[in-house]
């Protein structure tokens, strides 16, 4: 049974149809990719699924429950977290604190506990620090924990954004162009990380322009062009699909 189901999703921005009758399914623990030329509607699709934007129509079903119309934090609480195409760190905070914000939904202490440093508060903070460091270790940023997030080189900022999303223990992770701006070495490390996350049981949907990366890690690829799904299938089928080649060639002209 599919983990995430998107049915007849529709989004219009005054006049233009950014996402048009888009349907696809993601299986539990698979790595799915969404590809397509610039402006195809990929990021908009993520915005709709994660609740950042409200769709004009359609259905989104996650773990057999409709999540259409829910607020982003409610969707996150159900186990879905995303990253952003433009790195969107809290650069006014340390690397470690960025990750800690990602684990916010797992915590319970409120204003009172924090102000009076209750025992439960201290225990929870200690646990948060520990799990956050573990997440940083997973992406290889543990040595950078006390630095300001804005001071990291770009490649590490991308990793931190993934770490921050992971801190919330997501069951499904939506990555919007995680390899953009990375060099070949960093991209290879990213591929390893994504495969590792899959092994840990996380389902992954990735938007990516780096075709080598997409073909290497994805099991199912959804191709969108001008808001419409034009193809779907495994890496081999997509590479030889005429419509897909046409859409990408069309972009180049």
């Amino acid at each position: 049974m599919p983990f995430l189901v998107v049915k007849h999703l529709l989004k219009k921005f005054d006049g233009i149809v950014a996402v048009n009758d888009l349907s696809f399914e993601v299986k539990k623990n698979e790595i799915a990719a969404i590809i397509g030329p610039n402006g195809a509607g990929k990021t908009t699709t993520f915005n709709l699924i994660s609740g950042v934007l409200k769709a004009d129509g359609g259905q989104i079903i996650f773990k057999n429950e409709p999540i259409f119309g829910l607020k982003p934090h409610a969707i996150a609480a159900r186990g879905m977290v995303r990253t952003f195409q433009n790195v969107n760190l809290f650069d006014n905070m340390t690397v470690l604190d960025n990750v800690k914000v990602g684990s916010h939904k797992k915590g319970h202490t409120e204003i009172f506990g924090a102000a009076f440093r209750t025992k439960t508060f201290k225990q929870e903070e200690a646990a948060i620090s520990e799990t956050s460091m573990a997440v940083l270790q997973l992406v290889g940023l543990e040595k950078r924990a006390p630095e300001m997030a804005g001071n990291l080189p770009f490649g590490q900022q991308r990793l931190l954004e993934i770490a921050r999303a992971l801190a919330g223990d997501p069951e499904i992770l939506l990555l919007d162009e995680p390899a953009a701006g990375l060099n070949a070495h960093e991209t290879a490390e990213l591929a390893t990380l994504i495969l590792k996350l899959q092994q840990q049981g996380i389902t992954i949907v990735i938007i990516e322009h780096d075709m080598e990366l997409v073909m290497e890690i994805s099991e199912n690829i959804i191709v969108i062009d001008q808001g419409n799904k034009i193809a779907e299938g495994g890496p081999l089928a997509i590479q030889t699909n005429k419509k897909v080649i046409g859409a990408y060639l069309g972009e180049e002209c």
Partner: protein, 310 residues
């Protein structure tokens, strides 16, 4: 952590020994320093809202006034002890903020600024208009009783000074604790990007509402202390609810740098003594209107800070 304890100790020492520096006109300086402590409480609260969560209130005087007037009315007209009027006073401030926050915090940041600006003007007008004949109109409410906490009466200048600054000190530490927590981190995150914070699983609306109400409660508590403080024991609409007072509180937060509680404390104290410095200046030149000069200075400070922190 250790350096934090040292800093707290230094702060406490400064609070304790400060009165000994004023040999002449001690009660005059103690009154000013007490007011500075009261402002500091309101500014610490406003700093939580503005400096940490990045939400702007341009009418914080309304919450100060709500606390001050609620207690003034209850103690003078209903003969309730100030000990018992504390809870209603801060509750009125908190509920007022809650009612303003529910609709406006759903919208973009500047809606809160606009709504608080409006509520500040409205409350000021209501206090002056005296609709139920309980606010005393433009003349305000005189003869408010001093605080009396379990035998500790704040009628002398020195007990009042230590009482207020003890409270300021405690609130300062609690607030510092608060920002270094799960909740405080969420506030800073909201400041940077509400959408991203929301997507990560933080109910940003609720966080904003909580901190807005809390900052109003701080202001209400400060107003409550103000109403019962010597030598005036007096509130009027222009002193506690004027738009200029709201701007003054904002300026105090901005001067403090909006990043740390220590800055907020410094900002509050330095601007609380500013009018006194200006008064000294004014005594040399009788034609100088120091109130106008004070306003102009706030404006200049705000502009300079905006330019240099870009």
């Amino acid at each position: 952590m250790k350096s934090q304890a040292i800093r707290y100790t230094i702060l406490l020492a400064v609070i304790i020994i400060l009165p000994f520096f004023f040999k002449n006109e001690l009660s005059y300086y103690l009154a000013i320093l007490s007011i500075a402590g009261i402002y500091a409480i309101a500014v610490i609260g406003l700093n939580l809202l503005m400096g940490y969560a990045g939400q702007i209130s341009l009418g914080h005087a309304a919450f100060f006034a709500a606390g001050a007037y609620t207690s003034a009315i209850l103690t003078t007209q209903f003969s309730i002890s100030p000990l018992l009027s504390l809870v209603p006073a801060i509750m009125v401030s908190g509920v007022l903020a809650f009612l303003i926050g529910i609709p406006t915090l759903k919208l973009k940041e500047h809606y809160l600024a606009m709504a608080t600006l409006g509520i500040g003007l409205i409350i000021h007008a209501i206090l002056r208009a005296n609709p139920f004949d309980i606010t005393g109109g433009p003349g305000g409410i005189p003869n408010i009783p001093p605080l009396n906490f379990l035998g500790l009466v704040t009628d002398s200048d020195i007990t009042q000074y230590y009482f207020i600054w003890a409270l300021t000190f405690i609130i300062f530490i609690l607030s510092n604790n608060l920002v270094n927590s799960r909740f405080g981190r969420a506030l800073l995150a909201i400041h940077k990007s509400e959408v991203v914070t929301n997507v990560l699983g933080v109910n940003t609306y609720r966080c904003k509402l909580k901190i807005f109400v809390l900052s109003a409660v701080y202001a209400g508590f400060a107003g409550y202390l103000y109403a019962h403080s010597s030598p005036l024991f007096y509130v009027n609409p222009d002193d506690v609810c004027h738009f200029v007072f709201s701007i003054k509180l904002v300026t105090m937060v901005v001067v403090g740098g909006m990043h740390t509680m220590w800055g907020a404390l410094l900002g509050a104290v330095s601007l609380a003594v500013l009018p006194e410095l200006l008064r000294v200046l004014g005594s040399f030149s009788p034609s100088l209107n120091t109130a106008d000069l004070e306003m102009a200075l706030y404006g200049i400070i705000l502009i300079l800070v905006m330019i240099f922190t870009q």
